[in-house]
Amino acid sequence: MSDETLPPRDEDDLQAAEYALGVAEDSALDAARDRTRFDAAFAQRVAGWQERFVVMAEGIDPVTPPKKVKRAILSALFPKMRVPLMQRLWVWQGIALAAMALAAYLAAPLLQPAPDTVPRDVYATYMAGDVDDLELIAVVDTTGDIALRRVSGQAPEGRVLQLWAVLPDTAPISLGVLPSDETTRVRLPQALQAQIGVMTLAVSDEPPGGAPGAAPTGAIRAAGAINEL
């Protein structure tokens, strides 16, 4: 028994429904998945069906998951690396050797603290995104300077990169437009230094001169949560 021939609009809509429902298989599944990437009208149909079908989940009662689920998720996403500094640096796979040398150079004064200074922790982050290959490494030294090194990628043509500090429950705070150099230093305002442990750094692309207002206007091209080294 074969299907009756359907108008193209119906055929598209049914393919979207089958994809959203999860009954599309084999080549039909691959074709539908490709269309959601390149065909906005089709993607919109899929979204429409997902909105319709989700009502079937509305009758499902919430069940509080055991606490261990949250712990497992957090430890999978934010591994606490209580290992010595140099070993921890090796955990950062994919970071260019040059960037590691920079981190080690900045951490070096800590290893031989002046007699009258109490060493503070060194914080660092590796920033990446999935817009393009932009990757940066940032090390916050003991004086509150952020040393940045662009490991790969660059600002899109005609745009500049702007650095943002992101804190819980606060709008992103601009730390300034980054020069096109590979390495640069940015001062972390005094007021933010106490919150370094919960800070995320993000880089957006902006028109020349930076975002016109207080908030990012372009895409977030790289971001990373600051970790204690």
Binding site: S2, Y19, G22, D30, A43, Q44, A47
Partner: protein
Amino acid sequence: MTDREEIEDLIARVALKDRAAFEELYDRVSAKLFGVCLRVLNKRAAAEDAMQDTFVKIWNNADRYRANGLSPMTWLITIARNTAIDRLRARKAGHQDVNKPGFELIAPGPSPEDAAVASSEASKLTGCLDELEADRGAAIRGAYLDGMSYADLAGKFDVPLNTMRTWLRRGLIALRECMSA
């Protein structure tokens, strides 16, 4: 802010890799998503594993949420449902993952008006499913909540695969017409 806006705001902050926002989002929606995973998988251990995969996907893909035009709870529930169904089917040889909601979509998304229409349409769904011929409604529910493929459904209703496909497609058309009536 409405619930919807608050959850959208949390997802936007998770997209910026804000850990505190991620934990807050977890606290708000984990019970609903765990309920969905349990409904599909029917085993606590498997549902707990599915939750972990679901939240890792949410963390890694939150930046794509805004582009897909879904309401925030639809996006979150659809990720949980699809993750659970992939786990359910994973035992079968040659399994292909079902769609990953909003990870691939490039849709500009429905306008707010479209979204409002979609949501009022959606509220009719349950009634419309009940109006369908019983078998067709059951087939759509079986596919969505139990991850049944056309082959599974054909086995369950003891009809040839092509017949099953035609049934379900007619059911979907009837469903769409009922919901937009």
